[in-house]
Symmetry: C2
Subunit: 354 residues, 2 copies
């Protein structure tokens, strides 16, 4: 591990808000810790980050974030083990993906040291906010947006990088039902679907609302050309188990390269589960549901962890998935959360001590 | 015209900044007038708008605009005629389109009165900021963004609608050269390309930067499936003149329904110009450039007005367009700007007195 050379200045909050928080009844991402990291891009470079009390941001009305959606983010979690030690999960992968997103959105790349040391210093400072209740976690949200001024439709000359922390309950409550989309799309070939860019999420809200009104929780996106192949679910990548084989779509310029997704693939292979990374047609899934070979579907993502899917809708027909013993979803979820919470050996080297 | 029943409260700026502005050297959208309109959506409804001094906005770091790109906007211009009277151009069409965008981005629709009366009151108040120099104008930017808090990837519960005004010079300086895109895409079928949504613009920045480095000003987007057909240019719709026929692509869920675009179509028909609204293949344009039947290409948009295209690049080959007498671009630009500046009869009823 590199020696920490960066000393991040900390302005402490005068009073902590922690006593006001009901840690037994946390929703997802709606209360925030006492501090945040801020880092400004000005005059062609990122200035050193600092930690300040969590507070409002002041921006010009012409700041490009309001007009042209130039923003990217990451999602991570911080875990506390039974000894009180704090861990992150593959944070360098989040850092690398943030810069992949930055490139596609014409945002200047962040220096690794600012991200990693900023993250560690902030999480350490607010470590007492990490929830201890099973299923709860400290959600970590690094994000970058265009703060530079002007109505010209071109990249901003100033940006802000922040990290905020939110003690959170589960992303989904109850069983997850999904709708396989036939009309709307999330991403174009040659577009920005692989980037964790703000606009990718806003575009999903309306079709998702339509699905929610029909009784589903999420949309499973399909290709925009013929809605023939399953892509991802916006907040999570999708896995399908047909017979004993676990299948997920390959990443592409339309699909987010999920960190939970690739961890699930590695663990599944390690468990001896037959794994296929290939295009999954909707008709194959429907057929498998009809003939009984569709054993499981689940979503994988940082916020969603591993979320079993109880059923899906397609062309006005609902398909229920069976409840099975020894599901891949539970096995894989146990393996991954045991690594995250330092309850098991970390043979892949994913755990990162804060 | 409807009787104004809405009285918009005005808090005047103590000191005007107008003396500091060099009206002879305006760039596009980089200085702003003394006032702005603000209107908040809270508790399930839009509160009445008010006008306040142009000032910074304060937002929570978890405001959804920073994370999920939930934002829409419009672009308009205010014109002053030789008598000093102030005009807008088809503003109700901007209002209607704003709500079309709002629906797609899961943003609550704005009441017409708030938009129209707010717009008129603000433009009247800052009318002395309308530049008088030919080619300059007062650019009007209505926009709506998600100000509600929280990291859950779902629509916000609070929004802000603002109108800001920017005295502006031309959007393009000099000749416009465009690159026909072969790799990247702007919009998906079933996506948000037809909405004036922030994220649609950020996604264009990187490919446009690549094009600028090669010596072009803008990208002409093509379909994301095979890059076979010309769609639009992001900041403007595209018109092609082959022989004497003026051709533009039909609007779709991937293409913005431009107000300048549809005005150009109406004027062209009125001028007796043969007009076709149909798919335009890239190969047809390249073929026409090669055999000399490609007479003109131009972009049409509020910011760009009508911008003649001097040449285009495709597959590493540059095609120059001829300089022609009595170009459609100049005829149509004169007709449309004469209507906008109240220099001619307004047979279509497009002018709107402020």
């Amino acid at each position: 591990m590199a020696i920490t050379t960066l000393n991040i200045p900390i302005e402490r909050a005068e009073v902590s808000k922690i006593e006001q928080v009901d840690f037994d009844n946390l929703s997802f991402g709606s209360v925030f810790t006492d501090h945040m990291l801020v880092c400004d891009y000005k005059d062609g470079q990122w200035e050193p980050p600092k930690i300040i009390p969590y507070q409002a941001i002041s921006l010009e009305p012409s700041a490009k974030i309001f007009h042209y959606g130039q923003s990217i983010f990451e999602g991570m979690k911080a875990y506390k083990d039974s000894e009180g030690q704090v861990w992150l999960f593959r944070p360098l992968d989040n850092f690398k993906r943030l810069n992949i997103s930055a490139n596609r959105m014409a945002i200047p790349e962040l220096p690794e040291e600012y991200f990693m040391e900023g993250l560690k210093t902030l999480v350490k400072l607010d470590a007492q906010w990490i929830p201890q209740k099973e299923g709860s976690s400290l959600y970590v949200r690094p994000f970058v947006f265009a703060s530079g001024k002007g109505f010209h439709a071109s990249p901003a000359d100033e940006y802000k990088f922040l990290i905020c922390l939110a003690p959170s309950g589960s992303y989904f409550s109850g069983k997850v039902k999904v709708l396989i989309e036939e009309k709307y799309s999330r991403a174009a070939n040659g577009g920005v679907g692989y980037a964790k860019a703000g606009g990718n999420y806003a575009g999903q809200f309306y079709p998702t609302q339509l699905a929610i009104r029909k009784g589903y929780n999420q949309v499973i996106w399909t290709d925009d050309h013929a809605h023939e192949f399953i892509e991802e679910a916006g907040a999570m990548n999708i896995f399908v188990r047909i017979g004993d084989t676990l299948i997920t779509a390959p990443t592409s310029d339309r699909i987010l390269d999920g960190i939970t997704r690739k961890s699930v693939l590695d663990i599944a292979r390690d468990e001896g589960i037959p794994v296929e990374v290939r295009k999954i047609s909707v008709s194959e899934v429907v057929e498998a549901a009809k003939n009984g070979s569709l054993k499981e579907m689940f979503g994988a993502g940082t916020a969603a962890v591993i979320s079993p899917i109880a059923g899906f809708g397609f062309k006005e027909v609902d398909y229920e998935l069976p409840e099975i013993e020894d599901s891949y979803a539970s096995r894989l979820k146990k393996r991954i959360t045991d690594i995250q919470f330092n309850r098991s050996e970390d043979k892949f080297g994913w755990r990162y001590k804060v």
